[in-house]
């Protein structure tokens, strides 16, 4: 198990290093970064002065070293637009995205897992048809389209939910979500829901026909005992990785959903930063989301290893 964790940790660090490499050289590849920072009619002397001040005249490898050193402590420089540290802007927007992603994940799990279990346990039944339908819808309907439809129906026509924006509720100094999160979270979680239904269904179908399930029956256990102790426990282990990967995807913020629903999260910030060609901010967001995804994958692998005795007691 220790070796397993160490090797995953090493892989994660290598991936992050690769991400930093790409982020840094992408900026170089788009042309002279200084041109982004000066006004359109700056004189060559002014441009040279900025280049000097920003250190862009140093050898690339030195600049890259500096960039890495900054990245390690979360310093990506100031946002060109907001004139404040890019990381501060990210941390400011983070709670909104976390709220949205967590809600989306819970909704997806609440619908996806039970539906997958019911479908997989009763192949060919009405539940199974529903499960397969939900899986298909989740994977084919674009979430921004669904978000628009939901807004039209539940916000505009029925008026049950707000059409856009994030409202929170303060309770004992804690910021709590309100119903404003329901609509964007549902749209965002749709794809994850589809994945969970499909995966749970096929895992249950596969495990049902395993030899050890037949052994469980040959011991005289009841259907319920067999489902809970033998089928579900085995299906839950690979489910851990799907959920972990999906949470990473949800947490990296959705440009579409956050923009359509005016949700003040990371996706929204990223859309704005791209629009402004705010390079420091784009770099910071790109690295931050990679960090979140890589960390989550690492945690997922560890959780998976803990849950599966073949890894926990393996070498």
């Amino acid at each position: 198990m220790q070796r397993y964790i160490l090797s995953r940790l090493f892989q994660s660090i290598m991936i992050l290093f690769g991400v930093l490499f790409i982020i840094f050289f992408m900026l170089q590849a788009t042309g002279d970064p200084v041109s982004l920072m000066v006004s359109r009619n700056a004189s060559p002397e002014e441009i040279e002065a900025v280049r000097e001040a920003m250190g862009f005249n140093r050898p690339l490898i030195v600049q890259f070293g500096d960039f890495i050193a900054g990245a390690v402590v979360g310093d990506f420089g100031d946002s060109l637009r907001h004139k404040q540290p890019a990381m501060d802007l990210i941390l400011e927007r983070l709670p909104a995205t976390v709220e949205l992603a967590t809600t989306a994940l819970f909704m997806a799990m609440l619908i996806g897992i039970p539906l997958g279990l019911l479908g997989g346990s009763n192949p060919g039944s009405l539940w199974d048809t529903l499960a397969r339908g939900a899986g298909l819808i989740g994977q084919t309907i674009p979430n921004f389209w669904l978000a628009l439809i939901l807004i039209i129906v539940f916000a505009v026509k029925l008026g049950w939910l707000p059409a856009f924006g994030r409202e929170t509720w303060q309770f004992l100094g804690i910021t709590l979500p309100t119903r404003s999160v329901i609509l964007p979270a549902f749209a965002l979680g749709l794809f994850t829901m589809g994945q969970l239904v499909r995966f749970t269904r096929s895992a249950v179908m596969e495990i049902r026909s395993e030899d050890f399930v037949r052994t469980a029956y040959s011991k005289g256990l009841s259907d319920r005992q067999i489902y809970i102790r033998h089928i579900l426990r085995n299906a839950a282990i690979p489910l851990i990785s799907i959920i972990g990967v999906q949470f990473g995807y949800l947490l990296s913020g959705s440009i579409y959903i956050e923009t359509i629903c005016s949700w003040p999260g990371l996706g929204n910030l990223l859309a704005e930063a791209i629009g402004n060609r705010d390079f420091a901010l784009v770099q910071a967001i790109a690295f931050f989301t990679s960090l979140v995804v890589v960390t989550l994958n690492l945690l997922t692998d560890i959780a998976y290893g803990l849950a599966d005795p073949r890894i926990r007691y393996g070498d």
Partner: protein
């Protein structure tokens, strides 16, 4: 000796997309208390399906048991296994009839400790409490020859060697003092020396606990060593049943004769796998309208192609499903 199990005319079919598989076409045999009955036959002859039909372990659909009876006698009376409902058969499974499967690695749950997997049937059938269960499991593990049973209780299947896993499987099957243990090719996945140990262990426990064992195998060497009687299956029917010496000395069915001829001389210490004889088994998609062995039979004559042969007795315990009398080299006239 009294029979503990009497199976008659068992018919099992699979209704698949490609058509109906006639897997069992009238299987009859009996099992005496405490004896070892070996079942041999080519792959696909219906050995496993017979046993799984008795305990309702086949996936339904596609499987359907369409006829027959399986009378199980014990102290509390006689029941027809095929007529039991889900709750009733689950009391028999693991309680009065234990099952040992071929590949213990896939037959044990990879994420549950072996101790728990044995304890499960004790809880279910003997209603033992937690502490009692634990003690009994450790006892069982010791009995099947697992060193360090107390520590091994908490281990998972992948932490055992193949032979040790099969010992765990035996402990599962024997946990609740069953009357019958069905062993479906329990040694096929193991290497030769371990095979011998497993055979020996099973025999020892069988004698100690007075269990009747049905031993399914391809290995005629094992059969000669352990069986009291042998049942030879072909295309979903028993073609010959006889006491083991009788079968080896006076085989009466052309298929059995072929099997024994194809067998390399058994003076070598190693056991020999059943080498199949010339030709291939019939397609089970068509319902049998004549002797299913006729295509491959060197004695086949006209009647064999027109009628399905019935089971005839050629001795007090020796039954053959064939129209031809190989000893007198002519068709039987009394069938």
């Amino acid at each position: 000796m009294a029979p503990i199990l009497e199976v008659s005319d068992l018919v099992t079919r699979f209704y698949t997309f490609d058509g109906v598989v006639h897997a069992l076409n009238g299987v009859s045999f009996d099992l005496q208390a405490g004896e070892t009955l070996a079942i041999v036959g080519e792959s696909g002859s219906g050995k496993s399906v017979t046993m799984m039909s008795l305990l309702h372990l086949l996936p339904m659909p596609p499987a359907r048991i369409e006829g027959g009876s399986a009378l199980f006698h014990d102290d509390s009376g006689t029941i027809d296994l095929l007529k039991l409902n889900r709750a009733e058969i689950s009391r028999v499974r693991g309680g009065r009839i234990g099952f040992i499967f071929q590949d213990a690695l896939s037959a044990l749950n990879p994420v549950m400790t072996v101790g728990r997997q044995i304890a499960e049937s004790l809880e279910r059938h003997l209603g033992l409490g937690h502490e009692q269960c634990r003690r009994r499991v450790v006892e069982l593990l010791e009995k099947v020859g697992i060193p360090g049973a107390k520590q091994r209780y908490r281990n998972y299947p992948h932490q055992f060697s193949g032979g040790m896993r099969q010992r765990v499987m035996i402990a599962v099957a024997m946990a609740c003092n069953p009357k019958i243990v069905i062993a479906d090719e329990p040694t096929t996945a193991l290497d030769v020396t371990v095979q011998a140990q497993i055979v020996e262990l099973t025999q020892q426990l069988q004698r100690e606990l007075g269990i009747a064992v049905i031993w399914i195998t391809h290995d005629l060497g094992v059969v000669a060593g352990i069986a009291d009687r042998v049942l030879v299956m072909y295309a979903g029917r028993p073609v010959e049943i006889a006491p083991v010496d009788d079968l080896y000395d006076h085989p009466g069915h052309p298929y059995t004769i072929g099997l024994l001829e194809a067998l390399p001389r058994m003076d070598a210490a190693g056991s020999k796998r059943l080498i199949s004889i010339e030709g291939s088994p019939p397609d089970l998609m068509a319902p049998p309208a004549h002797c299913q062995f006729a295509w491959r039979c060197r004695y086949a004559f006209e009647r064999c192609w027109n009628e399905v042969p019935p089971q005839v007795s050629v001795g007090p315990q020796h039954h053959i499903t064939c129209f031809y009398d190989v000893n007198r080299e002519r068709p039987r006239d009394n069938v």
